[in-house]
Amino acid sequence: MADQNKTGTDAKFYNEILSPSELFAARSRSHKIPVRGQKDFFPDDSDEQRQRLEQSLTEHWSLISEERVEKLGNLVKATWVPSEKVVELQSPAGKFWQTMGFSAGGKQFLFPEEALYLMECGNVQVFYQELPLSIQDGYEKFLSSSTVRLQEYQVFGHLKRLGYVVLRFDPSSETSSYAKQLNLPQSHDRSGKQLKRKRSASPTTPSSHTEAQEESTADRMEEDTCSRESQEDKKYPESHRAISPKTSSTQTATASPEDGGGGTTWWMEDVVGERSDQQPASAASRWDFSSIFFPDLGASRELLSSCLASPHPSLLPGALAVGVCDVDPWRSRINLRDVKMSLKEQMREEEKRKRRSDINKNREVRNCRNWAEYRELMERREERRSKGRPAHLWDGEVTPLHDPRQPIPTGELLDKISVIKSTNLLEGASRLQASDEWRISFNVYQPDTVADFKKSNQGKPYARMCVCSFDGPVPDLRAIKQLAFRSGDVPVVFAVVDYGDISFYTFKDFQLPTDVFL
């Protein structure tokens, strides 16, 4: 019908539907983009200029009005599930599955932004109520504050078109820097949640679901950290904290009887088979280091069998399961020769031992008959040491920052006398209350050409995106600190959307260099 009524006046609104012959002709369509010519400086009302403008506009409109035409065989069919705000694939996924989508309950899903991008690329045709959705339908149905906002999608599309792998940022899946240092396995199952993009069989609205969860985790973390003063404790994951000595002291009542005596051999040196009857001790137990033996693979060559039994479960954090370790290959890698010292080395060792003499060996100290004499001696020594130090400077409560008789390198000295220390972005960031105003939207990974990306093992992102606009405020230090803390050692990039344009900015920690001249 569309091809016939082209001539009619009513056709105006419907001429964006292609006729079968037009669809067929679209197969041999060019994929080149016409080059734009040099622009003019000022309109001079000349015919040439008018002609050039006419030509540019014609080219522009032909490019803009072009419709997407794909062979049915090249299209992946999918349906929109509004209740879950996801798109479910109905036919096998294409190459895009390497970097997009997730499986749940034996089905394959795309997030709305992924589906929309693939619709725009002509890879996926999404149906709703058995009717194909137009790109416009996609924009209007898929983009909202509960999924991905239009501005976020603009950034998503911009980066995808550049070839980046872009995934939703999920704060709960980010491991703390402490856990990273320890190379702990990620304990996702703790919250009943699988890997980042996997979902349970009955997926709820992705965004609201994760947001609520993230909120609660954040809150919990905040509460926990507030109650603890020491810096290190803050970084402990919960599973680890449970067996820390602090908490355990209050829980000794529940400790299993076997470690009541305090003489448990933590590292089981017995053979493998006996491991099974060791009942897993409860998380609360005393850390008696005199009873925790680490295997000395070098010394106990004869004693140890070739297999090392797994450590006591209560020594291990959370969900970590450690099997039996075959130590032979390791042993072959250690230098098992006895240490043979030369005469010179032996003398040096002897010298060292002498210097480390304890205070009681000192003759002057031995001559002291009581505490008073000892104190006197100490005072005399102190006096000797402080000779040349003006008393009015050093005897008061406030003393100089540095004793000039103590030689230290210039760099250290400069550092010592700098009263206002420079700070960095992450300082105090963990104590900040989380706010909703600023959030990270996406993890960005480099294009396939630069790095191999695997959905199952995503690795460290190249950057994290925070989407904002020129209408909003500039992020303050508090926001920047917060985002940097959330992001860990991955840079946070601000994608500023200005209608059609997107600019990217980063705030970087900067240490002023200290020049030391010698």
């Binding site: 539907i17 669809l23 983009i33 003019d40 490019l63 049915l72 924009y139 209007e140 600019s503």
Partner: protein
């Protein structure tokens, strides 16, 4: 000048996440004819995986949207298809796809035949024997030709209005009265400057990346470079010289003149520009 003539066509604007978007080529052309540029934000169908040239939809600036509204030339077109006709529409869609398949099959066969014909006639120009073999081949083609369903070319429509099964009538294209008049003074000032510059025949786009409010083009941005960066400032705002120097320096670095635009009370706009004067 364009504004003087009666609006020949009302523009259908849809809201996506509260942003005004234009979808139909007709509407895009109409808006451009009024000297409004907007910004394209979608992937270009021809080569989707690049950012150099983008395609529909067109995102309007708030000032552009308001101008259209005040000209009674904008209509919201967010209504979807009614649920009652859904079954009918599905049926219609399937029928049309079937018909399209049949037609494309015929076209594909014709296409193959004419290709064969071209190949044959270019190699053998005479002799009745070749005529005979040609006929035989054509018949063989007729018999063996298959057009699998996967080869069917389908359209992934850009705009919904173009979808025949969403039988949207044009009732929604009636112009609406201006709905909300922004009372934000900053937005009001921006709009006054926008309207004044547009009235003088300039084309405007957003100038966020240049640290200003609008980029001002002497003609269609397709053919001309921007001459000015318009910065909207209220008249009674006291300005630090450092700020003025900063924008002026930025403008000169990108070879544009910075226009400080202050809306006056009578509806006019006061323009001030800065120029470095080298005293030797």
């Amino acid at each position: 000048m364009e504004q003087d003539r009666p609006p020949p066509q009302v523009v259908g604007v849809t809201l996506c996440d509260s942003a005004p978007l234009l979808w139909r080529v007709q509407d895009l052309k109409e808006v451009r004819a009024r000297g409004l540029v907007g910004g394209l934000v979608g992937s270009l169908p021809r080569t989707p995986r690049q950012n150099g040239r983008l395609g529909r939809p067109l995102l309007l600036l708030p000032e552009e949207e308001r101008l259209l509204t005040e000209l009674h030339a904008k209509a919201n077109a967010n209504q979807g298809a009614g649920g009652v006709q859904l079954r009918l529409q599905v049926q219609q869609h399937q029928e049309e796809q079937k018909r399209s398949f049949e037609e494309q099959k015929i076209i594909a066969l014709q296409d193959r035949k004419s290709a064969l014909l071209r190949a044959m006639t270019s190699s053998h120009t005479d002799s009745a024997a070749s005529d005979e073999s040609l006929r035989g081949r054509l018949e063989a083609l007729d018999r063996s030709f298959t057009f699998p369903r996967s080869a069917l070319a389908v359209q992934l429509s850009t705009s919904r209005a173009g979808l025949h099964h969403c039988s949207e009538d044009r009732a929604f294209l009636r112009a609406q009265q201006p709905i909300t008049v922004q009372d934000d003074p900053r937005a009001a000032a921006r709009y006054q400057v926008f309207g004044d510059l547009r009235g003088r025949g300039f084309y405007l786009t957003s100038a966020g990346k240049f640290g200003g409010d609008f980029l001002v083009y002497p003609g269609d941005p397709l053919r001309f470079h921007a001459h000015f960066i318009a910065v909207v400032l209220s008249l009674d705002l006291s300005l630090s010289p450092l700020d003025v120097l900063a924008v002026a320096r930025l403008g000169s670095n990108v070879k544009k003149t910075v226009l400080l635009c202050s809306p006056g009370r009578g509806g006019g706009v006061l323009y001030t520009s800065l120029q470095w004067s080298g005293m030797v």
